[in-house]
């Protein structure tokens, strides 16, 4: 799905890739991302260079009304992070949520870190409302702790569980669980009971380090350990 979205095609067109290992798909997607985000000798690089001639207010107007979220997502990481954060401050939250869908967070980590944590959380709330678990999962590993903690607070428990499934870096699970508010870990999995993610949720959270593992799984820990 991520590759299909990156290339602007319906996901079903790439059904023939479903049997490939996730690591292989991710490797291909990263190569394709490099190609599409590469500024060298392309209009992307020239547009980023041109933006240095303008104050941030007209850049924000151009971003929203002339470029749209896909192209802004491509360019955002090429602009000076301080200026990009200033531009983002001038853009509507809904628009930033659409940009997030098309942004490569690895290339925009410095921009994200310069944005107020509450603004990131507002965008996260918008992504939750749009059911963008995959996008949220892509960003988790590239947000500072404060931004991630605040964003986790605006996600309902089921969304947190769904995001855990799609984390780009499976090693991020411990970091996510460590930033969840005290008292919430013990009831997090209750939201997944009876849903399509329930069968795999126990297995996923059984991979967390202690004591997080025990706090999330609680009495289910013994059952998970036997699998």
């Amino acid at each position: 799905m991520k590759l299909a979205r990156l290339l602007g095609h319906p996901a079903e067109e790439f059904h023939y890739l479903e049997h490939l290992a996730a690591a292989d798909l991710r490797a291909l997607r990263e190569l394709a991302t490099e190609r599409l985000f590469d500024p060298a000798g392309t209009p992307l690089g020239r547009l980023a260079a041109a933006s240095r001639l303008l104050p941030t207010a007209p850049i924000a107007a151009i971003a929203e009304h002339a470029f749209g979220p896909v192209l802004v997502g491509r360019i955002a990481g090429l602009i000076d992070p301080e200026r990009a954060a200033d531009v983002a401050a001038r853009l509507p939250t809904g628009f930033l949520a659409e940009v997030a869908v098309h942004l490569d967070p690895r290339r925009a980590a410095d921009v994200l870190a310069r944005m107020p944590a509450q603004r990131i959380a507002d965008v996260a709330r918008e992504l939750v409302a749009r059911g963008e678990d995959v996008t949220l999962g892509r960003f988790v590993g590239h947000l500072p702790d404060e931004h991630l903690a605040l964003s986790l607070r605006v996600m309902d428990d089921l969304t947190v569980v769904r995001v855990a499934f799609v984390l780009e870096d499976p090693g991020s699970l411990d970091r996510v669980l460590g930033l969840i508010a005290p008292g919430r870990l013990e009831t997090l999995l209750d939201a997944a009971a009876g849903t399509d993610v329930w069968p795999d949720a126990l297995e996923l959270f059984a991979t967390a380090r202690e004591p997080l593992r025990s706090r999330v799984l609680g009495a289910r820990a013994a059952g998970a350990a036997s699998k």
Partner: protein
């Protein structure tokens, strides 16, 4: 560009589109699937370049006339 025949040719076309060797697992895909991937990526790059050009022109309308000339020089 003429279509590459066979899986080897299709893999070469995909790698040209990627600008890098494809992950080893993809060599096992049928040629038509590799062609589909190569086409999709090539079209995405072309579409992006076209849309960026058009967006650049649209964006100039938000810029004071005095700056449009210098910006056009940078945009090429």
């Amino acid at each position: 560009m003429p279509r590459a025949s066979g899986s080897a040719g299709a893999l070469a076309r995909l790698e040209e589109a990627l600008g890098a060797p494809a992950p080893a697992a993809f060599a096992a895909l049928p040629g038509e699937r590799l062609e589909h991937l190569a086409d999709a990526l090539t079209q995405a790059r072309r579409r992006q370049a076209h849309e960026l050009g058009q967006a650049g022109e649209r964006g100039l309308r938000f810029v004071p006339r005095l700056l449009r000339g210098p910006l056009r020089k940078v945009l090429g």
